[in-house]
Amino acid sequence: MKTFITTTLFVLVLTVAGCFEPKHDSRIKLREEVGSSSLGDNIVTRTVGGAFSWLIGEGIDVKQAVTRRNEAGLMELHVNGYNRSYDTKRFKYRVEWLDADGMLIQSKTSVWLPMSAMGKSPFGIKAVAPTPEAVNFRMDTKKWE
């Protein structure tokens, strides 16, 4: 019974801590040992959260992929993502451009490029099509060895 109460209490504390919002501007990230510890972000929640995150294999989420034409008529791709993991995620990405017929446009820009996203942080990728013929894209990712 005692164990059950302790576990419930622990889970409750974590849940409440997870809902806790920082008091400062949310656009500014104050990392471990930079900002003050709080109910939602302290040595206990970070350790437990980090272990849990690793256990369930949290990684990169792509929130949005926006395309637009720039003034030169070239398609631009903006990918907004979030690294759910507590660890920095390093990966490589490659953007390939497709013409109106869905054919691949050969380009020297379509190579594997490195990207690094810090833990629990948003990140952005920008790519520019090499010709105005590009109307669509496809993007691939792989682990940074």
Partner: protein
């Protein structure tokens, strides 16, 4: 007889063992190359630098001519200030190709870094000197002389691309070194001398002191 057969068998087995130790030559998968990075610059580094440069250049709008039309661009001097023997065309050929494919610019083969075969095609001026301006022009079919640049026919460049690749070697700790390669490019308006665009791409490598970065 038996000894001779034994000797032959031994010789064959040594031959097989030695040949098995030899590393086979393989073609590199340059599209998905997962091989370990090298301390010196390899084609993957040039691919990355070129890709980042091209995307920045095209995305900036600097190569878009106001009022329409295309800029005439020359390739100026790209200085190799690294410890490696680099042909800077490894970088510039990719950039020139993509700029041409973008439809925003045309490259000139007449004006540029004359020390680089990739920037200047001597045939254009040589054809003029050796055919039109020499005494042998009568030997050619006269209609074809129109193919050779005459007065007022060459187009002067409007923009120039120049830059530098340099290297810094740093001691990281007792066992490791850090090598930083800086790729710097700039686009300058030849008429006004104003700089329209510039970018630096840094490729840094950290590895054993035993690795040689040249």
């Amino acid at each position: 007889m038996k000894t001779k057969a034994m000797k032959i068998l031994l010789f064959i087995s040594i031959l097989v063992t030695v040949s098995a130790c030899e590393e086979a030559t393989v073609n590199v998968d340059t599209i998905n190359d997962d091989a370990k990075p090298l301390m010196s610059l390899d084609y993957r580094d040039f691919d990355r630098a070129a890709s980042e440069m091209i995307q920045s250049m095209l995305g900036s709008g600097a190569m878009q001519k106001s009022g329409g039309g295309r800029y005439v661009v020359s390739t100026g001097r790209i200085i190799n200030d690294t410890m490696q023997r680099i042909d800077t065309d490894q970088l510039m050929a990719k950039i020139e190709e993509e700029l041409l494919n973008s439809g925003q610019v045309v490259m000139t083969s007449v004006v540029g870094d004359s020390s680089k075969a990739g920037a200047v095609d001597e045939t254009v001026l040589k054809a003029r000197q050796e055919i039109r301006d020499s005494g042998v022009s009568d030997e050619f079919e006269q209609d074809t002389l129109e193919n050779v640049a005459g007065k007022g026919q060459l187009i002067a460049p409007e923009l120039s691309i120049s830059g530098k690749i340099f290297q810094r070697n740093l001691k990281y700790d007792k066992k490791r070194q850090q090598v930083e390669y800086y790729f710097q490019l700039k686009v300058t308006d030849i008429k006004t001398g104003l700089r329209f665009w510039q970018k630096e791409t840094l490729i840094a490598k950290r590895g054993s002191n035993k690795s040689v970065a040249w």
